[in-house]
């Protein structure tokens, strides 16, 4: 432990002497940024997941076609989780002589565990969050039931063998969001009334759900224990999985947080790269003296190594503490805009402490350990050992450290590999560009008098210039990349659920009603298109018959077992994109053509040229697939897996479907629709839309917040790291002044050099970020990337600006202090 003690003592002395402050600052800043990001990511991801959990009415749902035994519920209770159960099935209800097919949901006390039920006393009542569930003997019903059966709250409703009283109108239930599997209007009752209805018999089709909610770790523990023993037909539903829009937003937000976190790691690493060289350079003499005084190489290594470990510990602690404060401050600033968040966990603190060690061990230690090679003879000959800490090997170690950190921080191997690839590519380009720049400057030397002097700094310190260009370029690339992805992501989310996204769907429109309904909607100024819908079963592909058992994937089996909703289209909708093949003309010569959605094609294992056989009401409709489409399912528009060219399905029995946007103040039109077209089913998705939109909004805010935090911390790290150059030009500037150079010239020297450094680094950083942005946006965020040819120039301007600012800060003092003093300082340094 002597070495540990000596290392600690060395650190204390170094700190007092100001020797490690810059290094410590770089580590503290990197750790602050990383932990702040980690805390934000942790809590906000949990918060966003909480919002998604609302769409499930719980943190997890065990869903089964058969009654769920007591085991999973008892386990959940043992784990301290809240539980409740629901059962859903379709049944006809009676009011007097009128009947209506409804979707009955029997709920237990405590439902919903997440989110809220919005109810009202009558159709026009204000929507309020329900406290509790329907009392035994009561039902809460969908507004459509009141409208279609002409009922009011207080009226009786026969449900199976029992009669219940309509107590309230239910406007929104959190978990009734997606997949319009059950179009029938809702009747919600208490579970204790279920036996009296006598509706559930052996073989009845009932969806049983056990909802659980509580502490995330315990929920996961519950899931992992229950999952292995799931019976056939049972599955565990997780938040967000049912809503592609929300899932996409959540995945993207989480990935973006990961990206921010690991770009912070890159920037932190860059800070270290810039500072560690100065640190090593300043330690050459100290190590030589120590060696001279009898320190063995092993002693030097142990002492310096321990010093780094101690420095990592202290800087890690301080950085973690600051990171916590920064995240708390940022959350406080946007508290109103975010959902209630869970408390902070300890994980980010651990991340912080380990990050400090990894950064120091990865970046600093290889360089510092090279100091053991400083020859003791340096005490007599100062030129010896100047270059011991240089060499490419240390960067391999540093890159490995960065990659390990990235992977661990982002928890996403693919993302980490992409970013590492971008980092390596940018580094190579930067190194090459720096070498070319220096060569060009060297050739141009002496040709242009004063200008040559202005640029000579880079030529005189080529190694420093290369390192600075690489480090700056990499740091800028990380920050520009983040900005790019952020912009794309926000733009896509804003487009994702436009303000006028359809909030109502009309289904079951009979062909005879199309004209009249279209006219009614037209008169009301509602812009909409009616799509025909033909129900058909997929019975064959090419020469073979298709059976569900042909497919292993349960979802594909279900798809094949059910009837497809087929349609025909004249034009490709805006939210569809042709992936393979070509879309037909509005009036194709041969209407026998199918267009299939890309994921469906993948599931079925078919492509362009394969012939699909659909059975529609006993008739076989066979045609080849002529194109494959990708569909943006979260656009809230009507879309179909399989469509035919116009004219092909004309003889098949069709109903029509449409969706449209109706602002809330014009909701009276709905009553008219229901009155005039009683057989048409109206589905209100505005509440779901609001939830999805607010989740996306929050995702966007989080992305803004993280981007801001990463940018701020990145710039601070770079500025701090660039202070290093002050040391390097201190002596030079003093000498020039002693030789008669005026301050203006020295300032111009510095600014020219900084602008050139920053400009070149920024130019390549912009180009690197653009390329990396294309790959990352497309591959990881599934975004349409808007290529911006100006970005490299924007990068160059940003780089020149940031570096010139840093340069000005770093050299300010040089002009104020006497050359004598600077020369003395430089000597002592």
């Amino acid at each position: 432990m002597t070495a540990a003690r000596q290392g600690f003592r060395l650190l204390r002395r170094d700190w007092r002497a100001g020797e490690v402050r810059l290094l410590a600052t770089a580590v503290v800043l990197a750790v602050t940024a990383i932990t702040a990001v980690a805390w934000l990511a942790d809590r906000v991801a949990a918060g966003t997941e909480g919002r998604a959990a609302e769409l499930l009415a719980g943190d997890r749902a065990l869903v089964s076609d058969r009654p769920i035994g007591d085991g999973p519920e008892e386990l959940a209770r043992e784990l301290g989780l809240a539980t409740t159960r629901t059962q859903e099935f379709a049944s006809v209800v009676l009011a007097g002589d009128e009947t209506l097919l409804t979707a009955i949901k029997a709920v237990g006390d405590g439902y919903p565990l997440r989110g809220e039920l919005l109810v009202g006393d009558n159709l026009d009542a204000r929507r309020v969050a329900a406290e509790g569930v329907p009392s035994p003997g009561d039902v809460w019903v969908d507004p459509r039931i009141l409208r279609q059966l002409g009922l009011d709250p207080g009226d009786p409703l026969d449900v199976g063998a029992t009669t219940l009283t309509i107590d309230r109108v239910v406007f929104l239930e959190p978990d009734r969001s997606s997949g319009f599997r059950n179009f029938a209007p809702r009747v919600m009752m208490h579970r204790s009334d279920l036996p009296a209805t006598e509706l559930i018999q052996e073989g009845s089709r009932v969806r049983h759900r056990l909802l659980v909610a509580g502490d995330p770790d315990r929920v996961e523990a519950w899931e992992s224990q229950v999952r292995p023993s799931l019976e056939q037909g049972a599955r565990i539903a997780t938040p967000g999985e049912q809503d592609p829009g929300v899932t996409r937003a959540m995945t993207a937000a989480r990935r973006f947080l990961g990206l921010s976190a690991l770009l912070t790691v890159v920037v932190g690493g860059v800070g270290m790269l810039l500072t560690i060289r100065r640190y090593a350079a300043r330690h050459l003499d100290r190590v030589a003296v120590m060696r001279c005084l009898g320190a063995t190489q092993r002693q030097v290594v142990a002492m310096l190594g321990w010093k780094m470990v101690w420095l990592g510990l202290f800087a890690g602690l301080v950085g973690t503490l600051l990171g916590y404060l920064v995240h708390a401050l940022m959350l406080a600033l946007v508290a109103d805009l975010l959902p209630p968040l869970p408390g902070p966990s300890l994980r980010p603190a651990l991340v912080g402490l380990l990050t400090a060690q990894v950064i120091l061990l990865g970046f600093a230690l290889p360089t510092v350990l090279r100091l053991k090679r400083v020859p003791p003879l340096r005490v007599l000959r100062r030129d010896l050992g100047d270059d011991v800490y240089r060499g490419g090997g240390v960067y391999v170690f540093a890159l490995a450290a960065v990659f390990a950190l990235m992977w661990w921080q982002a928890g996403d191997l693919q993302l980490s590999l992409y970013v590492l690839g971008a980092v390596l590519g940018t580094l190579a380009a930067l190194a090459a560009a720096a070498a070319v720049l220096i060569r060009v400057l060297r050739l141009a030397r002496g040709r242009r008098g004063n200008a040559s002097l202005l640029l000579s700094g880079l030529v005189r310190r080529p190694w420093t210039a290369v390192i600075q260009i690489m480090a700056l370029g990499l740091g800028l690339m990380a920050l520009l990349l983040l900005t790019l992805v952020r912009n794309d992501l926000l733009a896509t989310w804003q487009d994702g659920v436009p303000d006028d996204a359809a909030n109502y769907f009309l289904i079951n429109i009979q062909p005879g009603e199309v004209e009249e309904l279209t006219a009614l909607l037209d008169d009301a100024g509602v812009d909409t298109t009616l799509y025909p819908m033909v129900r058909g079963r997929l019975v064959g592909i090419n020469e073979r018959d298709v059976r569900p058992s042909d497919y292993e994937d349960p979802r594909t089996r279900r798809l094949v077992a059910r009837e497809f909703n087929l349609s025909w289209l004249e034009r490709l909708p805006e939210d569809n994109r042709i992936e393979v093949g070509a879309f037909w003309n509005p009036e194709p010569a041969d209407p026998a053509q199918y267009s299939l959605e890309a994921r469906m094609a993948e599931r079925l294992g078919v492509g362009v040229g394969d012939v699909l056989h659909f059975n529609v009401a006993g008739e076989r409709y066979s045609a080849p697939i002529t194109n494959i489409r990708s569909v943006q399912w979260d656009s809230f528009n009507v879309n179909f897996f399989a469509v035919a060219a116009p004219g092909f399905l004309d003889d098949a029995p069709a109903t029509y479907i449409t969706s449209f946007y109706l602002p809330p103040e014009r909701s009276r039109l709905l009553a008219r629709l229901v009155d005039e077209f009683p057989s048409v089913t109206l589905i209100d998705v505005s509440a779901i839309l609001d939830t999805v939109r607010s989740i996306m909004d929050q995702g966007a805010r989080v992305v803004e917040l993280m981007a801001l935090l990463t940018l701020l911390s990145g710039i601070v790290v770079l500025l701090a790291a660039l202070q290093v150059t002050r040391e390097e030009r201190q002596f030079e500037s003093a000498l020039l002044r002693a030789l008669g150079a005026r301050r203006r010239l020295i300032r111009r020297l510095a600014v020219t050099e900084f602008v050139l450094l920053g400009g070149v680094a920024g130019l390549l950083a912009g180009a690197g970020a653009t390329l990396a942005g294309v790959v990352i946006s497309r591959q990881l965020f599934d975004l349409e990337y808007a290529f911006n040819p100006w970005f490299p120039l924007i990068g160059a301007a940003t780089g020149a600006g940031v570096v010139a600012l840093a340069g000005w800060l770093a050299t300010r003092r040089l002009y104020r202090v006497s050359p004598m003093r600077l020369l003395q300082d430089a000597d002592e340094a």
Partner: protein
């Protein structure tokens, strides 16, 4: 040239040093034989670039010669690895340099403690304080090198050199950075401690006044070490 070999604390046999230069090898010196007795004082004089500092480095085990052998006490430095030579330096050798080579971030006391700490000696602070008192800096133990004058810095360096009671002390132009009066005081201190501790003193200098105070004076001239006339 001057080598009886018996009872010597420091001995060199056939020492030579050559460097690879752009135009072939540069031979700095060759066939240097030397033996120094315990407590003896020796000055090595020579012009700039004559290789006297290199010779000092070889004698102290800071570097290895191109040819020849060096002993400090019973330890043959030229047969030892770098770490073993470091151990010999820590135990038997002290240094005083022209540029002082104090560690900037350390106080005077901490600078003097350094060799004792490296050798893991018990209570380094007490010994270091005593050493500083002996060079007249007992009141300035908490000062940093920047806060001390050149003479004071060199006194700290001398305290650091003597604190481990080395058998041989190498001084490379110890007064080179000091004015005449301060230099004279530093010389007094060096010789006083040499007498008091019986330390062998090897001084490399081109200051004739300092050389005169040594018992023996050698010249490094044209690659050969010769006794002063």
């Amino acid at each position: 040239m001057v080598n009886d070999g018996q009872g010597s604390v420091l001995r060199a046999d056939g020492l030579g040093m050559a460097f690879h230069g752009p135009e072939g090898d540069i031979r700095l010196f060759r066939n240097v034989d030397l033996a120094i007795r315990g407590g003896e004082t020796l000055a090595i004089l020579g012009a700039s670039g004559s290789g006297k500092s290199t010779l000092l480095g070889l004698l102290a085990g800071l570097d290895l010669p191109s040819e020849g052998r060096v002993w400090v006490g019973d330890a043959e430095l030229t047969a030892l690895g770098e770490d073993e030579r470091a151990r010999v330096r820590g135990e038997q050798v002290g240094f005083v340099f022209q540029a002082f080579h104090l560690l900037g971030g350390l106080t005077a006391l901490e600078n003097v403690m350094m060799p004792l700490e490296l050798a893991e000696r018990p209570d380094p602070a007490r010994a270091a304080r005593q050493a500083l008192e002996r060079v007249g800096l007992g009141e300035r133990t908490g000062h940093y090198p920047k806060q001390l004058s050149g003479g004071e810095q060199q006194r700290v360096a001398i305290a650091r050199a003597f604190v481990g009671a080395p058998r041989v002390l190498f001084a490379d132009e110890p007064t080179g950075n000091l004015d005449r009066a301060t230099g004279a005081r530093i010389q007094d201190l060096l010789f006083e401690l040499n007498r008091a501790q019986g330390t062998t003193l090897v001084v490399v200098t081109h200051d004739p006044a300092l050389a005169e105070r040594c018992q023996r004076v050698l010249h490094l001239d044209g690659g050969r070490l010769v006794a002063a006339a």
